[in-house]
């Protein structure tokens, strides 16, 4: 399958924002895909498979992030990662706290 690009804008909904544990979950999930995964925040583009890069986002609750994947499984990667962010990384009120 030829490389394709997929993009989606998502909002961080978990109260604690993009701290270490969500960053780890994101990296693990992103690494399951062949596509390159990037996150765009303002003027910055970071590697979605690097936990150090993910932590540099310093993204608090309510921040809007643009996910971009490039590769043959780009759409599947963006779908799964968007769902992870939109589900609040299992940290929403009522879910098991971190």
């Amino acid at each position: 399958m030829p490389d394709s690009t997929a993009e989606r804008t998502v909002k961080l909904v978990n109260p604690q924002g993009f701290h270490a544990r969500p960053a780890h979950m994101f990296m693990k999930l992103a690494s399951q895909y062949r596509a390159n995964v990037e996150i765009l925040k303002g003027n910055e583009v970071i590697n979605g498979k690097s936990i150090l890069d993910l932590l540099t986002l310093g993204a608090v609750n309510g921040t809007t992030l643009c996910l971009r994947a490039i590769g043959d499984d780009a759409q599947a990667a963006v779908d799964a990662l968007s769902e992870l962010i939109e589900s609040g990384f299992g940290e929403m009120p009522g879910q098991t706290p971190s």
Partner: protein, 175 residues
């Protein structure tokens, strides 16, 4: 208008980048960690914070236990020989932290399996998730620079570490 001016100042404070000097307790920096395992290193760094007066002695055990509990959810060893053990704890009114270096390295179940030489331990008030995120942002941004990382791992004294943190705060590593 006083209210607007106050709000503006608050906005600046909230959005500016955090520096190491905003949260690292200089007197608690440890250059040559004696511990060789995860619980030992965490306890050593927390006791260093109590000795420096950054957290109360009576809270040390509770803070160590909370950090260990957080580690059970997943190691904060983020790779490249770096770990950021942390917890929220009601005993602190503002974010406090310290830096420790182990020349031998400590098995921390880190994400890449490597031993950890650099520790950034953070204790933050439960109601300030933004401060914690900005500290993580600062630490990770600086550590992306391999020179800074290497120099820190080679630091022989707390003073060396402090100087490196100051240089990082002055943007001498990150363009």
């Amino acid at each position: 208008m006083p209210f607007a001016a106050g709000y503006w100042a608050w906005e600046i404070l909230e959005k500016r980048n955090m520096k190491f000097s905003d949260f690292v307790s200089v007197a608690a920096i440890k250059a040559d960690l004696a511990s060789f395992d995860k619980p030992g290193v965490i306890r050593e760094l927390v006791l260093s914070l109590t000795a420096a007066g950054a957290v109360k002695q009576s809270d040390a055990d509770g803070i160590v236990a909370a950090i260990m509990k957080r580690e059970e959810l997943g190691s904060t060893g983020i790779g490249r020989g770096v770990a950021v053990p942390h917890t929220k704890h009601a005993s602190v009114e503002r974010l406090v932290g310290t830096v420790g270096v182990s020349s031998e390295g400590v098995d921390f179940n880190s994400l890449d399996g490597d031993k950890v030489q650099l520790f950034f331990l953070l204790v933050s008030p439960p109601d300030r998730p933004g401060d914690h995120l900005r500290a993580l942002e600062n630490i990770s941004r600086q550590l992306r620079d391999e020179t800074f990382c290497r120099f820190l791992k080679q630091a022989k004294s707390a003073q060396d570490i402090h100087l490196l943190l100051e240089e990082a705060d002055n943007n001498q590593f990150v363009a």
